[in-house]
């Protein structure tokens, strides 16, 4: 499990993440929702060692993220962010191969090649494996990066707003894919989402943040309610049900 204890991050005087204690990484998909500036991405960045923690501790399966060797953590936890701009021209296969870096420190053995093939296959990237990333569409590029994190072969997978700048079709594809990875491969996925209905439809747990703190955490039916959404987003939103999932009607 990913365990956070009294984790705080401040910029100047404002605490962006304020004394948060929570366990993340239950089996299946956990979505983190909340308004802009609620501290979702900051929280994820601290778990992923991209930001220093001001106070408190974060452990992954008992390993403290600030003191444990990077390679060891990288075999348990993969992080994917959305600013995937690269200066170098890489092919899809090159990129996916990087996912094996924590295992072989850059040397690829037969088992690494297998893992790479599996990841490429799993994301249907076979036809474009030799293409350069800048020749792909946005959705394909997104899948290539996902393949890299799959090749990393970790139990936990952290994604920061994976649906950003994707069209509806690719959004749905991505969410279905993550669901599949959670069910078939036993991945424990934590992702930051803006669309609360995607969160409601695909998650096993939802964590709602407000002003740097955890507001509620629980099953989708417990979090996606008119009362909670009012407190989190400051809006009155009707919640209906469809196919067993709560659906927020916020367009009307």
């Amino acid at each position: 499990m990913i365990v956070l204890q009294s984790v705080t991050k401040r910029y100047a005087d404002t605490a962006v993440v304020d004394d948060v204690s929570i366990e993340l990484g239950h089996p299946g998909i956990t979505s983190v929702i909340g308004a802009n500036g609620a501290g979702k991405s900051t929280l994820l960045s601290m778990i992923g060692r991209l930001l220093l923690i001001d106070s408190g501790t974060i452990t992954v399966d008992g390993l403290d993220v600030t003191t444990t060797r990077g390679a060891l953590l990288a075999r348990r936890l993969a992080v994917l962010r959305q600013d995937n701009h690269l200066t170098a021209r890489l092919t899809v296969r090159d990129l996916v191969a990087f996912g094996r870096f924590p295992h072989g420190r850059g040397r690829l053995g037969p088992s690494d090649r297998e893992a790479i093939d599996r990841a490429i296959d799993y994301l249907d990237l076979d036809p474009v494996g030799g293409r350069f990333l800048d020749e792909l569409s946005g959705g394909q590029r997104q899948r290539a990066f996902l393949a890299m994190t799959l090749a990393q072969d970790t139990e936990y997978l952290l994604l920061d707003e994976p649906l950003n700048s994707l069209d509806l079709r690719h959004c749905v594809q991505t969410m279905r894919l993550l669901r599949r990875a959670a069910d078939d491969l036993g991945k424990r996925i934590v992702l930051v989402l803006h669309d609360i209905n995607f969160a409601a439809a695909y998650s096993d747990r939802i964590v709602a943040m407000r002003a740097g703190r955890i507001h509620v955490a629980g099953k989708p039916t417990e979090v996606i309610t008119t009362a909670v959404l009012r407190q989190v987003y400051g809006l009155d939103i009707a919640v209906d049900e469809f196919g067993g999932h709560p659906m927020a009607i916020y367009h009307l």
Partner: protein, 333 residues
């Protein structure tokens, strides 16, 4: 349609083609290098063969060392700073080197300095420069979210500042003393064998350091976030690379003075030709290109155009235009 099928065909065998592309270019560049070096050493010899060849060998050794240092430093620097238009020399390191020398003279006077052993002086200057440069890089580059263009401009301005302060201090030193001093300074640096040896040893150590970092460097091309996610100790790695870059640039500046844009040109050409992100491929290619540029440039300017020592100016001219092309093209951020 035809181009489409063609590209399909090409991408199908891409790994094969690419492996050979790297081999091809490395071999081709090596060939050109050998050719140029031979031409440089053995053509157009007037007077004593032994003397001329020996003199040229020494000069050639200096060029080779500089090529290794500048090319390696630039590729490393660009990897760490995640861009392709920045070079350590644009950051004013060469100007800093001259400034450090001037400050030493200003503080301790020329006579005291002339008395010290040149090797000791060289060592101290290199150490001071490396400390300064590493601190400067750390300060500038660890500030999150700064645009790459800002960093280049800040670097350029640091260069201007260093040069201005140097000018100022030079005027503050007694004019008569300064002239004497300037001779003592630069004469000792004109390719003495001891200095060449020292530089070679230093560069070898830096290269050894590079081998230790090894493949972690390749992961850096994915950017900071991915590198950390893949288990690279980013902060430590960047600090090490900055230190290596400082050493390399310091050594090359001490040997021949500033050649600001050479690294920029050879690094970008190397990426373009090799088409690989592996440092194991790009750095050798960049080094070979640097040798070709330096030796070829010397041949062309000295023997063909009889222009003597203006290579630095020509590199500045070509490199400046190259830089402008790079930034006016798309995709440099």
């Amino acid at each position: 349609m035809p181009t489409d099928t063609l590209s399909q065909a090409v991408t199908g065998v891409a790994p094969f083609v690419r492996r050979h592309r790297v081999c091809f270019w490395i071999l081709a560049l090596t060939g050109v290098t050998v050719l140029l070096v031979t031409a440089y050493l053995f053509t157009d010899v007037t007077g004593s063969w032994d003397y001329v060849v020996q003199l040229r060998t020494r000069k050639l050794a200096a060029m080779l060392l500089v090529a290794v240092a500048v090319a390696t430093a630039t590729v490393l620097f660009q990897t760490v700073t995640e861009n392709r238009i920045l070079t350590p020399a644009i950051m004013g390191l060469d100007a800093l080197y001259v400034l450090i020398q001037t400050v030493v003279v200003y503080l301790f006077g020329a006579s005291a300095l002339a008395a010290t052993d040149p090797v000791l002086r060289w060592t101290v200057e290199i150490v001071v420069l490396v400390l300064f440069a590493t601190a400067l890089f750390q300060w500038i580059f660890t500030g999150a979210g700064r645009s790459i263009h800002l960093l280049v401009l800040v670097g350029v301005l640091f260069g201007v500042l260093f040069r201005s302060v140097t000018h100022l201090l030079q005027r503050m030193i007694d004019p008569a003393e300064f002239v004497v001093l300037q001779d003592a300074f630069f004469a000792s640096f004109s390719v003495s064998e001891r200095l060449l040896g020292l530089s070679a040893v230093t560069i070898t150590f830096a290269a050894a350091g590079l081998v230790l970092i090894g493949r972690q460097l390749d992961v850096l091309v994915l950017g900071r976030a991915h590198a950390i996610g893949l288990g690279v100790h980013h902060r430590q790695l960047v600090a090490i690379v900055f230190a290596l870059v400082s050493v390399l640039v310091a050594v090359s500046t001490a040997l021949v003075g500033p050649i600001t844009f050479l690294g920029l040109i050879v690094a970008n050409l190397a990426y373009h030709l090799i088409g690989s992100h592996r440092h194991w491929h790009t750095i050798p290619a960049a080094i070979l290109l640097a040798v070709i540029f330096l030796v070829g440039g010397h041949l062309l300017l000295e023997r063909v155009f009889d222009l003597g020592t203006v290579l630095a100016v020509v590199i500045e001219f070509v490199g400046g235009i190259f830089f402008l092309i790079l930034v006016t093209r798309k995709g440099t951020r």
